[in-house]
Amino acid sequence: MQPVDSHLFLLVGAALFSIGLAVVLLKRHAIVVLMGIELMLNAVNINLVAFSQYDPDRLQGQMLSLFVMVVAAAESAIALAIVLQVYRHFRTAQLDELNELNY
């Protein structure tokens, strides 16, 4: 199989991280912000895997990326539960309209 140039992995990771950061900063719906966080975690995973293919004996990058995936799954479950409770309480999930902590 033709090996892929590893700079492309790093470039794709950089682009994906920037897009995720823009999504987090720009969007107003809470769930879309969560999607941006997932995009950033995926960009980090791409970088880890791209460097880990030169370490076939220990695969430390792939192990770290596996644990990043586990933490991302737990984080998204908790965050979606919190968004559900916020939606039940305030009847909205737009982050701009949530300007009170308690009412």
């Binding site: 199989m1 090996p3 140039d5 590893s6 700079h7 992995f9 790093l10 470039l11 682009a15 994906l16 991280f17 920037s18 897009i19 823009a22 999504v23 900063l25 720009l26 969007k27 809470a30 769930i31 879309v32 969560l34 999607m35 941006g36 997932e38 995009l39 995926n42 995973n45 791409i46 895997v49 791209a50 880990s52 293919q53 030169y54 076939p56 004996d57 220990r58 695969l59 792939q62 192990m63 644990f67 995936m69 586990v70 933490v71 799954a73 737990a74 984080e75 998204s76 479950a77 908790i78 979606l80 539960a81 919190i82 968004v83 559900l84 409770q85 939606y87 039940r88 909205t92 999930a93």
Partner: protein, 168 residues
């Protein structure tokens, strides 16, 4: 990219699905077959289903009789005041980060990336590593997932009658 462009939340979820499949394909190209399958199973099978459930549960339907005289004005004024500066600042920050990373990657000279790579299955190595060197983080990840799921169930559950009466 389309997660950024689209305004519909459900379309954003579907474009996120496409992006996650693309990342899984990149993992295959980087000779990480186990991680590609794990990516598809965890993200597409677990996280994205959760996200779509969240979208469907929190999507506010457009009420046609809710268009009183104050609602559109508020939205228009908010867009005029807040969206201009916030949009520009967000795009500037993200674009500057991408340009900085691009110049860094273009100038950097990774000697590691010029070495040839072999293609072999990573499943046995990952299994051995999980059971020997990474056994403590593995168990901690299990406990973390258990605690996270119990906590998420507790948070998302509707409040019972007694606790509602108690808080009132």
């Amino acid at each position: 990219m389309a997660v950024l462009i689209t305004r519909n939340v459900l379309y954003a979820a579907f474009f996120l699905l496409l992006t996650l499949f693309g990342v899984a394909g990149l993992f295959v190209l980087a000779s990480a077959d186990f991680l590609a399958i794990a990516q598809i199973m965890i993200y597409v099978g677990g996280v994205l289903v959760l996200v779509i459930f969240g979208v469907m549960l929190t999507n506010k339907p457009e009420l046609p009789n809710d268009t009183n005289s104050q609602q559109p004005n508020r939205i228009i004024s908010k867009n005029r005041s807040g969206a201009g500066s916030g949009w520009v600042v967000a795009v500037l920050v993200a674009g500057a980060l991408f340009i900085a990373l691009y110049t860094l990657l273009a100038r950097a000279n990774f000697t590691l990336l010029t070495q040839p790579v072999g293609w072999q299955s990573t499943v046995t190595v990952i299994g051995k590593q999980l059971m020997t060197e990474y056994v403590v983080p593995f168990e901690i990840a299990g406990i973390l997932l258990l605690a996270a799921l119990v906590g998420a169930t507790y948070l998302a559950a509707p409040q019972t009658k007694s606790s509602q009466n108690a808080t009132r």
